[in-house]
């Protein structure tokens, strides 16, 4: 028998976030309170994925609870704690060549970072339970984790 579930990933575990950054060649800066970005909100981006439409107010732009440096980019990724969920929201300025380098590293909206975060979160939780994991990268870009020895 089998059943399938789908989960939208949020960043609740900084250790998993750090492991994901390490695998992607990014530098996790725990406790860093600011990020590098354009530096000023000029009301020029209002698409559905605009950070202010996703729970990060424009006066929070540039501020964060932790940051991620993308080597080669002059901008950073910010992590803002969400007191409602206990998780962290990701955001960054994608404009120009600095933003493009971030998108190349973590995906257009950070999806690739979420993917690797999910991988490491699963590995951490499985290890705690004594489950055995085997990880492979599928041809379609999915990360597959086969967990055995499930009690």
């Amino acid at each position: 028998m089998s059943h399938v579930v789908s989960i939208k990933t949020e960043l609740f575990d900084l250790n998993a976030a750090k492991a994901a950054c390490a695998e992607l060649g990014l530098i996790f800066k725990e406790g860093q309170k600011t990020i590098r970005w354009f530096g000023e909100w000029v009301n020029d981006y209002a698409a559905d994925d605009a950070a202010y439409k996703l729970g990060i107010s424009t006066d929070q732009y540039g501020k964060c609870d932790h940051a991620i440096e993308v080597p080669g980019s002059g901008y950073d990724i910010g992590l803002i704690h969400n007191p409602k969920t206990g998780g962290h929201k990701l955001y960054f300025d994608f404009y120009g060549s600095n933003g493009k380098k971030i998108q190349n590293a973590v995906g257009e909206n950070g999806q690739k970072l979420l993917q690797y975060y999910g991988k490491h979160k699963v590995l951490i939780e499985a290890k705690k339970k004594g489950w055995l994991c085997s990880t492979t990268k599928a041809g379609n870009g999915n990360i597959e984790i086969q967990i055995t020895n499930v009690a």
Binding site: M1, H3, G87, Q115, T148
Partner: protein, 65 residues
């Protein structure tokens, strides 16, 4: 043999599929994992899940014929 296959797509969306479980044992095994990963947004139970929950066939752990 109880296994869980986890698949994480390039959008960061996670799917889990259990095999070798009897009925709701699969829920129990994955519940903690799901909780630690984030908000569950979608769940699909295959027909076998409901069949197994009634214990109506031979796929029971250790008791299969």
């Amino acid at each position: 043999m109880k296994n869980i296959k986890v698949s994480i797509n390039s959008d960061g969306e996670i799917k889990m599929e259990g095999s070798g479980f009897v009925g709701t044992a699969c829920d129990k095994a994955m519940a903690a994992l799901e909780k630690s990963l984030g908000t569950q947004t979608k769940r699909i139970n295959k027909p076998e899940y409901y069949q197994q929950a009634t214990g109506s066939n031979t796929q029971s752990v250790g008791g299969g014929k």
